[in-house]
Assembly symmetry: C2
Homo-oligomer: 415 residues x 2
Amino acid sequence: MTENTSAYHPLTVEEAIDVARSVTNVFYPTDDLICDEIGDGNLNLVFRVRLAHSESASHTPSLIVKQALPYAKVVGESWPLTLERARIESDALLFQGKLVPQLVPHVHYYDETMAMTVMEDLSDHVIMRKGLIEGNRYPLFADHISEFLAHTLFFSSDLGMNQQEKKLHVQRFINPELCKITEDLIFDDPYTNSPNNNIDEQLLADHAKLCSDHKLHLEVALLRQKFLTSAQALLHGDLHTGSIFITPQSTKVIDPEFAYYGPIGFDIGAIFANLLLNAAGHEHWSHEEQLREVHRNYLLSTIREIWNRFDEKFRSLWDEHGVDRISRTKGYQDLYMEQILQDTIGYTGSKMIRRIVGLAHVADVGSIPDQAAKLRAQRIALQLGTALVKSNRRIRSIEEMFTICEHAYKGVYTS
Amino acid sequence: MTENTSAYHPLTVEEAIDVARSVTNVFYPTDDLICDEIGDGNLNLVFRVRLAHSESASHTPSLIVKQALPYAKVVGESWPLTLERARIESDALLFQGKLVPQLVPHVHYYDETMAMTVMEDLSDHVIMRKGLIEGNRYPLFADHISEFLAHTLFFSSDLGMNQQEKKLHVQRFINPELCKITEDLIFDDPYTNSPNNNIDEQLLADHAKLCSDHKLHLEVALLRQKFLTSAQALLHGDLHTGSIFITPQSTKVIDPEFAYYGPIGFDIGAIFANLLLNAAGHEHWSHEEQLREVHRNYLLSTIREIWNRFDEKFRSLWDEHGVDRISRTKGYQDLYMEQILQDTIGYTGSKMIRRIVGLAHVADVGSIPDQAAKLRAQRIALQLGTALVKSNRRIRSIEEMFTICEHAYKGVYTS
């Protein structure tokens, strides 16, 4: 597990071109290539290498060279990170690529010393968060993402993978540093006066309420415990709408550097939280409640469809590919799915809260120019998040989530 | 993680003597040493090296040389096992030795190539199972074993160990092969017609009932799921009374080769199950119910004392050494302890059942010469085990366990 960091150095643009050129069957040796560093993440360099003289940026051969940096940019060089996460990301992409090749970027090559992965360029896609902020719809998304979730989670769990092989998988995906970021930013800081928090002046009173809500803290402690101990399946680990490249026809899940064995509901909750944050963000759209409601209903029905399809697909993989007789125990599947649903609700709520008062916000809400609309959006997210976290252990059906959602909107509008 | 097996070979008696002699400060270079292979386990060679000419076997310098075999003796050479488990055992002993040195054998030396650990000889102790079968009492045992459980489990969990360090610990103690034995022999075989089972003719009807009890199967599936996924603390993993050396003054926990990160209740349940099996085994003692009841009550009050002391010690370690502020969340400790209790009850029951109809029986019941008494003991164990498994998720207090116990005895005596 030790890293050979002696030859490691951050790539230059010229080196990225050389690396890309060495991948066979993409460029001709005589091609004139150019390269841009396009990373907007916090932990990596991302180079896009393509033909110098092409008319359309999106329809020529091109490649991505992604390299891990030994620190997190978001907090300067003072937050050091080992390069091991690049190995985990490339391993996770390869695992997912075997199960759902159509839903992840193709990996051409991984170099451990340089902590570098060469992969398919997806510049013809947009980041889903951006697309949703612009009000776009993705009618195939629920089908695609439920396919991604069902397959990657089922086949990495004890239900779909030989249990001894799975243990070696757990070992391979132990990811202390990236998990630490989640443990602090999602399950700790938002509920206390942490210097990591990033709280709008107008939300200080709301945050004070979060800090004194003991019922909420107990549920967060339990969700955190599960995050720390439940090695249920190989998670993506950071599955927000900024980790999804999308077009109306295609969905590609990227950036699994937070991958580790955790509770299944954590990945599903990440998706739901970010769709609900987008819905809240559309408070700025217009003063016509009707227009906002149409978009919100689109997102809520997407959530319903994701859950129902996930539930259906996961169960059908289970029935068809369950690796042992115990998994067929009467009543076991129903209890298992109910537990996933409850966890999903809890993680959905905790991820909404952290995006409003924690370190890293989302543009869906954070970039709202009108202060009154922004405050409304923030409060909807906090109230909904809090209600979901508090109710997680009692939930029996996805429909209860929508009732809670309705109450949160009403609460903010009538307060 | 690859093993250098090239130089590995099973030790001879002469080699064991040489190894023991190389340990400093135990023998004089001129000492005449003798060696016996005393292993009665299934997976290892155990050599005892001591002075050739000493009057008392138990008060002279001596050492144990324990070597893992690359197969399990219990099922012949056809069940191959890697030698990695010797590394895990020695690692676990060293970890436990730092926390509770008075409760584990001292490790002098570990040799990875030979899969061999040189450790303190405990021949002045007896195996606790044997002592209990003879009707002996160990008044300090509850205090000792609760100390062992509280310290080893607390300080290896996310409550008492830095969470990032703990993840590396999880990685170090991934133990697929030995866990597989538990998964099959405890959570699978006893509930089906497995060729691994070892069922007395007179119990075939009782076993058939186990095989068709769907409510029981569901609970076993959930307990198994937790065994597979819950990385709560570093368990001993095989903590029955055959893994404990004892005298009235001293308790030493040995043989942690099954160590891995699992649910805390699994270790506590192993102790409880074996005390309850011993109680059931005393059905052969005499026709005087009173005598049996005195021994049973001694064992039940030992269980009560173990739980209460464990609960008290674990909570006080938590209050004093909890590594983060989240662990101090109001109500969290109570819920956590209740969950441990429920798991303990469930694992107690499943371990009782497997010792009656599974592959490996216990002498407490298995060696009863009188067939009627043996059948009574077996039925008490099966009924009690079944009732405990079925009730595990509803239990709120250790006292409920004793009520269930009373019912099981009544049930067998009145049927």
